[in-house]
């Protein structure tokens, strides 16, 4: 065993090696096996099995579960970096990983019951994959309203429920081991009084209603299902969904989605840079004209990175203070993050295509950017930006200046 040099050990507290570790392991999988299969995953619209076998093997699915339950205890920053690294190689892999970790964050922050604690240990031990059923056929992207409801099971003891949902999009539903489902608290509750219900493969049945054959993000296999579940009341996360969403699901979703999109943008810029360099080598001594567009793409990429890092910092500063997390200015910051980064990813990829010209437009060159563009277009639609902006504009009617740093 090599002892670390004294100076280095002092500089590196216990969390640092883990951080390097998570990002480095994700980068190796992203640049290796995920990138290698990205084209086939996209073409065939199939689940990125190889990448997820590798993620399981590297124990990266349970990496955000606290160490006391056998997980890696990774921070949101580390997981965001992992989403980015995976998406550089295969956007669908990055997005599935992001969606999985969003569900983990909800469970970790709000799963206080014994049932949830057992599940956390199981996730870490068995590297289970978690999916999400928020979208409902009747309400679409209006995920803060549900039609389906948790029904107390009259045939059983008091503590059991049943739940049926017309879930029009559940990404990787076939591969999921656990699904988190939004529903009304009970059959009499108004549509906005929701809870988040955790069900495992043993508790639910999925009947496929639609197949995902989409422009991009094809490997997410975001099929539609009719979900029927039964379980014990203890499986329902105790905090109302509105609070859970404000404190965890919304900020973590927008941070991890944005990090994934940043990975798409970063790979597009890498390709554009490689193209410009190859042009420069052909005419030594001159800077290719296309380099101007590369500079534009690079500036936008930097902008994207900045908004994401600022949001992660804001989340870190607010976490631990439910009061700040449920405040209006925090919600606005997290919602605008999604809108800004989802527009920027498309702009970056477009600038990269302009840089490469036909070499980027064609599907058969090392600079091909068609898949990146198609994947990037999902960003603005994944909870429609117009829906988010219209919500923000209402909230702004009552917002005040904050009193924290930079406010």
């Amino acid at each position: 065993m090599n002892a670390a040099p004294a100076g280095l050990a002092e500089l590196a507290p216990a969390s640092v090696p883990a951080q390097v570790d998570v990002a480095a392991r994700a980068r190796a999988i992203g640049a290796g096996i995920a990138a290698r299969h990205a084209e086939a995953v996209d073409r065939d619209g199939r689940f990125p099995t190889e990448a997820f076998d590798a993620l399981r093997e590297q124990r990266l699915l349970g990496v955000m579960i606290p160490a006391e339950f056998g997980g890696g205890g990774a921070s949101l920053f580390e997981v965001a970096a992992a989403c980015h690294a995976l998406a550089r190689g295969c956007a669908a892999t990055g997005m599935i990983y992001a969606m999985h970790q969003i569900q983990i964050a909800c469970l970790v922050n709000h799963g206080t019951n014994g049932w949830h604690r057992d599940l956390k240990a199981r996730i870490a031990a068995e590297q289970l994959l978690l999916g999400s059923a928020t979208t409902e056929a009747e309400t679409g992207g209006d995920i803060r309203n549900s039609v389906c409801a948790v029904k107390p099971d009259p045939g059983a003891e008091h503590d059991r429920f049943t739940l049926a949902k017309n879930a029009s999009v559940i990404s990787y539903g076939d591969q999921s081991d656990v699904i988190l489902v939004t529903a009304r608290r009970n059959p009499d509750a108004p549509s906005s009084d929701q809870v988040l219900v955790v069900v495992t493969k043993d508790d639910y049945r999925l009947e496929k209603t639609t197949r995902w054959d989409a422009m991009g993000m094809r490997g997410t296999c975001s099929d539609g299902y009719r979900l029927e579940a039964a379980g014990v009341i203890g499986q329902i996360l105790p905090l109302p969904y509105a609070d859970l969403s404000a404190q965890t699901m919304l900020p973590v979703t927008h941070i991890l989605w944005s990090s994934t999109w940043l990975g798409i943008a970063a790979d597009a810029v890498s390709r554009a840079r490689a193209f410009v360099r190859s042009e420069a080598k052909r005419k030594p001594g001159t800077t290719p004209a296309s380099a101007l567009r590369l500079a534009e793409a690079t500036a936008k990429l930097q902008q994207m990175k900045a908004v994401i890092l600022a949001a992660i910092r804001q989340y870190e500063l607010a976490s631990g203070s439910p009061e700040q997390l449920v405040g209006l200015s925090f919600a606005t910051a997290m919602s605008t993050l999604k809108v800004t980064s989802s527009e920027l990813v498309r702009e970056v990829v477009e600038a990269a295509i302009r840089t490469c010209g036909l070499a980027g437009y064609r599907n058969d060159t090392p600079y091909s950017l068609g898949r990146h563009l198609r994947d990037a277009h999902s960003a603005a639609l994944m909870i429609g930006n117009d829906r988010i902006m219209s919500h923000i504009s209402t909230q702004l009617l009552v917002q005040r200046d904050g009193s924290g740093a930079f406010e």
Binding site: A189, P190, T394, Q395, Q399
Partner: protein, 82 residues
């Protein structure tokens, strides 16, 4: 004050039920109050009671029941700042 709050709730809260039937400790979110509804409710309360809600009161807890709203408004009327 409670009567004033009820009338603002009925007018601006967009509830699923009649505001007159709610007890003062009933959960307004269970009665259908949404974040959208909160905005209308808050603007209505500011108009009705001539107060201004500061940043730190702009969260779900402030509007969770008629009693919670009463406490917040009372704080604002009495102290300027809650």
């Amino acid at each position: 004050m409670i009567a004033g709050i009820r009338s603002v709730l009925a007018e601006c809260g967009g509830l699923a039920v009649d505001a007159e039937t709610l007890a003062i400790n009933d959960d307004l979110y269970a009665a259908g109050l949404t974040s959208h509804g909160c905005v209308g409710l808050m603007l209505g309360l500011e108009e009705e009671f001539d107060v201004e809600f500061p940043e730190k009161l702009l969260n779900r807890r402030t509007f969770e029941s008629i009693a919670a709203i009463r406490d917040a408004v009372r704080g604002l009327v009495d102290g300027g700042e809650a």
